[in-house]
């Protein structure tokens, strides 16, 4: 049985490979906090675990179903709120629910809201659907400011997760590491469940709806119902992520249903790669690392992020996952070495561009925010004088030169990539003929 691998990639995982991959995933989840033991690292790892569930849930809509939602934070956010209120019920003794099951309450909330709002949203598809999700997101966000009884007003709703009988006799979920392992467990099970979904009739029909909604009707399926069910499942897992976040931070504020968070889900799931199942996992890692670390490094991080996003949409719409897979394929045919030169050129010129542009941006920000500290700003070890012309002229030149060289090397790269692809096609045909 030959597999033809042309422009699009259909990877049939071998059974051995499948066990290996899942085993590695579980191993990574278990071992990570033992490698990075600082509390900062553990906080990040916890957030990554939560983010993975949220982004994978989002990708059920985006990558699997072709549905672009601008308001997905509603489902994870409301999951958070319901989870923390339930936790408070447990604290007050009104309902003795084990802390480890709280995320499921979040999931139920997410699914319930998705059932309600999804009914309205999935009446449309494509661009109108996106507009509706935007409007609904704003609706919930506005309501969050109006109903402090549920949303806690300015201070949000807080709670305490160390209550009741210790789980399994010793897990109080007080220490961060215990919370991490709870989240890791949920993460692994959720990942497996969402992966399993892709191998069921509903999952496959969801893909069919993505590829050709008109045809789906003519093979007996109601496209709206397929989308609606997928929406609810996605809402469930988003709610689980929200519930875990409520446990982790022990406080939930209105921003968890805000547009910024919805935008982050979209941005990072796309960056990670919506066309492969594991893409959102990469996206979640980027999301946490980016939001936590990058914002420390520079004021302009959101600008850089936006520019990278634009670049990816234009040149690599399959995200980082697709870049990895395409290069793995090239490596499998032994042709990766040919491209190293091109890659180095791309990296070098991109870096030059970045240095020039970054210098300008940092100088601008410095002038705006820190003008009282004098006209000099540090940038990668070099002192730039914002008052003088040299620094500006220099950075503009560096950026333009970098831009020009980058465009040149990009075109060269595209040529070489095309050649490599052609060679691979020939090789495939040769093997098929055998």
């Amino acid at each position: 049985m030959n597999s033809s691998r042309a422009q699009s990639f259909h990877f049939k995982p071998l059974n051995v490979g499948r066990w290996l991959v899942w085993g590695l995933y579980a191993f990574a989840l278990i071992v990570a906090p033992l490698l990075w033991t600082s509390s900062f690292a553990q906080t990040m790892l916890t957030q990554i675990g939560i983010g993975i569930i949220a982004c994978l849930a989002y990708n059920i809509l985006l990558g699997q179903g072709g549905m672009l939602s601008f308001g997905h934070a509603v489902y994870s956010g409301l999951g958070s709120f319901l989870a923390i209120h339930t936790l408070n019920l447990a604290v007050s003794g009104a309902w003795n629910i084990p802390v480890s099951l709280i995320p499921l309450i979040g999931g139920a909330a997410g699914m319930g809201v998705a059932a309600l709002l999804g009914y309205v949203s999935t009446k449309k598809a494509g661009t109108p659907f996106a507009m509706i999700t935007l409007g609904l997101g704003e609706l919930v966000w506005s309501m969050s400011l109006m109903i402090p009884e549920f949303f806690g007003g300015e201070g949000g709703v807080s709670s305490n997760r160390v209550i009741g009988e210790p789980f399994l006799g010793f897990l109080t979920f007080g220490p961060q590491i215990q919370v991490y392992y709870l989240i890791a467990a949920y993460c692994f099970i959720s990942t497996a469940a969402m992966f399993a979904l892709t191998r069921t009739p509903l999952g496959r029909m969801l893909n069919a709806v993505r590829d050709n909604p008109e045809r789906v009707a003519f093979i007996g399926y109601d496209t709206q119902w397929v989308r609606y069910l997928a929406f609810m499942i996605s809402g469930f897992f988003a709610g689980v992520a929200g519930g875990l976040a409520a446990l982790n931070f022990e406080i939930v504020t209105a921003e968890v249903v805000g547009a910024a968070r919805s935008g982050a889900y979209l941005l990072f799931t796309f960056l990670g790669g919506a066309t492969f199942f594991f893409g959102p996992i990469i996206g979640a890692v980027l999301m946490v690392v980016g939001l936590v670390l990058l914002s420390e490094l520079t004021q302009a991080w959101l600008l850089y992020l936006g520019l990278i996003f634009l670049f990816m949409v234009m040149y690599a719409p399959g995200g980082i996952a697709s870049l990895i897979m395409m290069n793995l394929r090239v490596a499998a045919y032994g042709k990766l070495r040919q491209l190293t030169g091109s890659y180095l050129a791309l990296a070098g010129t991109a870096l030059t561009m970045l240095v020039g542009g970054g210098a300008m941006i940092e100088m601008l920000y410095h002038m705006q925010l820190n003008a009282a500290m004098g006209p000099e700003v540090e940038f990668i070890g070099v002192t730039l004088n914002t008052a003088g012309v040299d620094a500006w002229f220099g950075s503009v030149m560096v950026m333009l030169v970098g831009l020009g060289l980058f465009e040149m090397s990009r075109r060269q790269y595209v040529r070489e990539w095309g050649d490599v692809q052609a060679e691979i096609e020939k090789e495939i045909k040769r093997r098929e003929a055998l």
């Binding site: 033809s4 259909h10 509903l202 050709n212 093979i219 399926y221």
Partner: protein, 255 residues
């Protein structure tokens, strides 16, 4: 619901878009198992007719019956579930799914799997076996795992037919199935269509007269939204009105 002798009936069907009447009282009654070719000059309303039958547009007036049951006003997926399937003139495939997956999707509903998310596709032996059978019928087994967007034109057309018949519908509508094919491809395709529609009721829109006369039991001639003739090929060829509408030459050249 009475199940009459006719598999598909169009009774005084009218369709107007705004002020322009495209279908002006089409009358057609197709018996079960018949193979009918619908021919007519451009603009006669053939695609509109298909869209009306399959529920894409609603009727302005009249009735459409499938096995005696009224289907006008129903949604496309409801009509499909009652046993009517169509193919498209421009291949309408699930682009990122493989050939096999395309066919398997088409069999799922007819085997009752519906919206289930608690069973794995790999475990559905009935669906997999049926999909394999259809794959063999349309002779695309060697291209099983190719994403549909990477198929050649003829392969895509074959898959198009495959998806249409996979669900086991009793009434099949084919919209210019051999459009854009070479002579030899067309001949092979006719044979394929004959094989996969054994025992089914077939309605096909065609422009190639060789195909029409080779495939059809009966021909329906659609002119200005009306069926002006519906009979066996020889009778249609001899019909004066048809000759007038077609200027005789097109029919003569296919002899």
């Amino acid at each position: 619901m009475s199940s009459s002798e006719f598999a598909l009936e169009l009774l005084a069907v009218k369709k107007a878009f705004g002020k322009s009447e495209i279908i002006r009282g089409a009358q057609l009654q197709v018996k079960a198992g018949e193979r009918v070719a619908i021919i007519g000059p451009n603009g006669a309303g053939k695609s509109t007719l298909f869209n009306l039958i399959t529920g894409r547009f609603g009727l302005s007036s009249g009735e459409i019956r499938l096995h005696g049951q009224r289907i006008d006003g129903k949604k496309p997926y409801e009509i499909n579930r009652l046993g009517l399937s169509r193919s498209f003139q421009v291949s309408n495939l699930f682009t990122r799914l493989s050939v096999f997956e395309n066919i398997r999707c088409a069999v799922l509903w007819s085997l009752g799997h519906r919206y289930s998310f608690w069973k794995f596709l790999a475990d559905l032996t009935d669906a997999n076996e049926r999909a394999e059978a259809v794959l063999a019928m349309i002779k695309l087994d060697r291209r099983r795992d190719v994403p549909a967007m990477n198929l050649t034109y003829a392969e895509a057309r074959a898959l198009e037919i495959g998806i249409t018949i996979a669900g086991g519908s009793s009434v099949i509508l084919l919209d210019e199935p051999t459009a854009g094919m070479s002579k030899s491809e067309t001949q092979r395709f006719i044979q394929l269509i004959r094989e996969v529609t054994v025992g089914k009721t077939l309605l096909t829109v065609e422009h190639d007269m060789g195909v029409v006369f080779g495939l059809a039991d009966k021909i329906a001639v659609l002119v200005y939204g009306e069926v002006i003739a519906f009979d066996v090929p020889d009778a249609v060829r001899a019909d004066a009105r048809v000759q007038e509408a077609y200027l005789g030459s097109v029919l003569a050249e296919a002899h």
